[in-house]
């Protein structure tokens, strides 16, 4: 492209983001799955100049504006896998990323510490994880059940299992600690796990 010719040949606002949402979604998917640089170039060439206009208004100077554009597009490149076309248009996703970066940049400028950061207020770039609570509760139930089963293990096997699975020791460490041969630790572990498995089956 020749210097001096505007990036957008169609000029200014001829294309409304909604109209190219499908196209941009497809490019983003390719970036996410295949790290496709050509697809990224399409996304970049469309959004970067537009982000710059937004950033200039928000940040008031060219250097900060370009930093905002770069951080935003960098996130788009790195986290394109997190984009989900079912949840909204690429333009909305990219806008929210820019908004979050702008928020953190302005706070940094004002020397605000990271007591509150954009990711907490608007979680858009986090991997979706299961509800912390549910996991914790499930774990609790399982641990409780296991705890009861544990008590039914023969004393010698229980000591070995606890050292390995709760204290996180290696079999060798357990052997040293109990002054028994490594082979004995291995067989006790095997027997204990077998037994636990049977008990869990009976419980079902």
């Amino acid at each position: 492209m020749l210097v001096g010719i505007p990036l957008e040949s169609k000029h200014s606002n001829a294309v409304v983001p909604k109209d190219c949402a499908d196209e941009m979604s497809a490019y983003l998917a390719l970036v996410g799955q295949a790290r496709c640089k050509r697809s990224f170039a399409e996304v970049f060439n469309y959004f970067a100049p537009r982000l710059r206009s937004y950033a200039l208004k928000q940040m008031g100077n060219e250097a900060l504006a370009m930093e905002l554009v770069q951080d935003t597009m960098s996130n788009v490149w790195q986290k394109s896998r997190l984009f989900n076309a079912d949840k909204g248009a690429p333009s909305t996703w990219i806008f929210t990323i820019a908004r979050n970066i702008r928020f953190d940049m302005l706070r940094k400028q004002r020397n605000r510490k990271e007591d509150i950061c954009a990711d907490d207020l608007w979680p858009i770039l986090c991997e979706q994880t299961a509800d912390v609570n549910e996991v914790a509760l499930d774990d609790q139930v399982i641990l409780q059940e296991l705890g009861q089963l544990f008590d039914e293990l023969p004393q010698k096997q229980r000591v070995v299992i606890e050292a390995i699975y709760i204290e996180g020791k290696s079999q060798q460490e357990v052997a040293d600690q109990l002054s028994i041969p490594l082979g004995t630790v291995k067989s006790r572990t095997r027997l204990a796990l077998q037994r636990l498995k049977e008990m869990l089956k009976d419980n079902d």
Binding site: G4, L7, V16, P17, F40, S53, W77, K79, T96, D115
Partner: protein, 223 residues
């Protein structure tokens, strides 16, 4: 059922990233609990992005800068998503556990000890750093905050249970903003009591009876 929501203008400012940070935190927590405001925030984001990206592109020549930028971005090493440690969102009081909305989960670690205020009220301060302080207030069944008005602004979000204040009844997820024009007396008659997350920028001003004696000290609590 949630009946009290942030104003639309506040929701839009939240979506835009332009509302004050402490209000943004309250709204974020409310949005976590409120499908209606989730939808409205999503809608506002769509509208804002359409506005932002439909603006005419400034044709100042920066192509070389953009080319360099793109090259730099695509050459950086692939980002390994940090394994986010799931933060427990359970707040404990006297053996009871309250599930906090996602936006407040990180403050379980920044919450100080519970202290008993007057009557059946409990308070735990939350350090928001430079944004000041917020509080969890727990009203046991029958607990009441003496009638007061506000010198500043008071944000309240109901996290668990229900309370009333002589003006209305509030349920889990309800969000209110009160100022000097509102006089109220929060109390909870819910069997399980009521846990709220609240911020005030200036002390409360107690308006009735003996509670007025609290005024000289009101910055010590309810702040």
């Amino acid at each position: 059922m949630i009946n009290f929501h942030p104003q639309l203008a506040h929701l839009r400012a939240f979506a835009e990233g332009t509302c004050p940070t402490n209000l943004a935190l309250m709204i974020s927590a409310h949005v976590d609990m409120c499908p209606r405001c989730q939808a409205l925030t999503t809608q506002a984001q769509e509208e804002l992005s359409a506005e932002v990206f439909a603006a005419p592109v400034d044709s100042v020549v920066v192509e070389q800068d953009f080319k360099d930028m793109m090259l730099q971005i695509t050459q950086t090493a692939d980002f390994e998503p940090a394994r986010v440690q799931p933060v427990s969102n359970l707040l404990e009081l006297d053996g009871r556990h309250f599930a906090l909305p996602r936006a407040l989960a990180r403050y379980t670690r920044k919450t100080g000890n519970w202290s008993r205020l007057v009557g059946k009220l409990w308070q735990a301060p939350v350090d928001l750093g430079q944004e000041g302080q917020a509080n969890f207030i727990y009203m046991e069944k029958g607990g009441r905050v003496p009638e007061h008005t506000h010198k500043g602004t008071e944000f309240t979000l109901v996290i668990d249970g229900q309370f009333s204040d002589g003006l209305a009844d509030y349920d889990c997820g309800d969000f209110t903003i009160m100022d000097g024009s509102n006089k109220h007396m929060p109390f909870s008659e819910a069997d399980e009591g009521c846990l709220v997350f609240t911020m005030v920028d200036k002390p409360l001003h107690f308006t009735s009876g003996l509670a007025r004696l609290l005024n000289p000290f009101s910055q010590l609590f309810f702040k």
